[in-house]
Symmetry: C2
Subunit: 393 residues, 2 copies
Amino acid sequence: VKFNTGAFVVVLICSLCSGQSQTRVPSTNVSGSEYPRLNEDLSATFRVQADNAQKVQLLMDLGQATYDMTKGADGFSEVTTKPLLPGFHYYLISVDGFASTDPGSKTFFAARKEVSGIEVPSSESDFFAIKDVPHGIVRIEWYFSKTTGDWRRILVYTPPTYEESNQRYPVLYLQHGWGEDETAWSHQGHENFILDNLIAAHKAKPMLIVNENGMTGVNFAPPPPPRPGTTPPAPPPSPRSMANSIKEERYTLFESVIANDLVPFIDAHFRTIPDRDHRALAGLSMGGGQAVRIGMNHLNLFSYLGAFSPAFFIDDPSKDYDGAFADPSKVNNELHLLWLGVGTDDFLLAPVTQSHETLERAEIKHVWVKSSGAHVWTVWRKYLTDFAPRLFQ
Amino acid sequence: VKFNTGAFVVVLICSLCSGQSQTRVPSTNVSGSEYPRLNEDLSATFRVQADNAQKVQLLMDLGQATYDMTKGADGFSEVTTKPLLPGFHYYLISVDGFASTDPGSKTFFAARKEVSGIEVPSSESDFFAIKDVPHGIVRIEWYFSKTTGDWRRILVYTPPTYEESNQRYPVLYLQHGWGEDETAWSHQGHENFILDNLIAAHKAKPMLIVNENGMTGVNFAPPPPPRPGTTPPAPPPSPRSMANSIKEERYTLFESVIANDLVPFIDAHFRTIPDRDHRALAGLSMGGGQAVRIGMNHLNLFSYLGAFSPAFFIDDPSKDYDGAFADPSKVNNELHLLWLGVGTDDFLLAPVTQSHETLERAEIKHVWVKSSGAHVWTVWRKYLTDFAPRLFQ
């Protein structure tokens, strides 16, 4: 026993000497996994086993940056990235053309499949961290949609006071982006901890948050792999085609799911304040486009709208969105809030800025946030922190 | 429009001709993914893209059956298995030595990492299917453990009536196996639908189910990949070493998490009946060993114990488990139920049967179920269906 204890101490000291102690394991690793590791300069070292591989690559941010990994004598392939931007990054490992998850990482649903993720912490990670404040709950609920004819899974955040009180609460319907699903806002976005922290600081009203699956409709290409003999899967749609898809959907499934199935279910099964003054609809990217389009078509249901880095493109208020913005004074009267934001490194910066300018010219009141950052969760978490305190005041 | 409709009909007919219509997409696929597919004979066809791979393999049941996949001219590798046993199977894809998830499948936490899974439906799939009955909720909760000094995630099933009534409810603490986590019983096990269905049929009392993470302790080897220069990861422990690990844990973390942190949290935050007569502790495999050991050490807390295909090995009741079984009449008086079951194809059949025989010789009352099946979720779902109706009657 004494010998074992001694050996343990030696291992500990060697670990300190080697400099390994200056690296950290990210919160996105599976429990006990030592890789990937974060280095002091916010670079990260990835390491996977692929004994007989010819070519192993790290696809950071789903391929926006590709790193070749080097195979060592032990069969493990490794690479250290350049310093990463603080926040959350999706990634995949590609082995001889097979792009899949890193066994060391938790998985997150994006790009229509489960992928890996790495959280790079910074001084700005505090607002979405779990803290010693009262915590709400994320509930996994199933409900039957007449529109789609099947049982659908939704996630519902109820605030800390919900169960102890008999109060009724307002509701934020909050949607993910293309290729993600109803788990994204809690799993990637930490909506629950963000709201817990805002509510504890008296910065936001207690509210419910409902997450549905916006990838509902007929206009999405199937993900890989296709059946033999069929066309290869389409790449993610362009912003403009995404906006058109969303427009098509108006006449199809998702709008009906929200308006005819989801809102009635939520109002029937939760203590909500079931009127437009106490309902918000927001989303990111494709979900932002859905929020604006569905919201403007259902001003009887919603009075607060949020569009985070959205697929929302308006050139001519008199015609676009079927004229929903044609009468600025009506829009200004009916909407308590129209929130629009995009990051300066976002590939949607130009078209979203143009939409903002269109609204401004038309004197349609809106909150406009041009922030730093790209088309990433790091930005959307911050947007929720700006958006939620403006609701239901 | 007419031409398009015609083309659609043609495609539909061709699809019928080709025999593709006789295959099905399993419920475990990500939405829209066409592979893997189930064939009529319950074989499954897997298909992944790995353009430059030398060797692509399907590792069914985490390697218990390995299939070589054949690469076609299109760069996709494919294989059709022999007919699979109905129920749930874990699997991985191995590409040139890199074992990871199939992008076409949802992921499930097992073997200390995220893996793929395929549900093979049968006439026995009905009891864990979602039906048009009142549904409970699975809640994702976080609580602070003084034992481990960190916030821990738990999943809590509350039955359909929980929110509408002011009643108090009994609680089943239900644990996963080695390498899995607190998500397993709802995600792989469908505990929520199983209970919804049992409660609707008046076969089980409404109860809460709490799932914690039993991989808490000092006796588990880290998962791959290891740091350079360290020992390669250990394979999953043998049944006997697993039992010993669990014994060690008695003095360490998980037992204290359950007894000192979790049970008090649940009783403080839910409308429970906070006494031993209304608490059950059960688990599968490693979790079954934990249930028996922790339960027998805390008969002040628990009076119903369930061990599904468990790491529970008793030869000498006077000594094993520190003599917890030494006084049969005391055990028989104090336990309302000791449930023990194992499948005839389970690698633990012999030792668990021996434990049953030991209990029988010692005249310790217990329910003994020797079922068909191996060490798989298909069996554990059925065990829950047998176990839950016996609780709190």
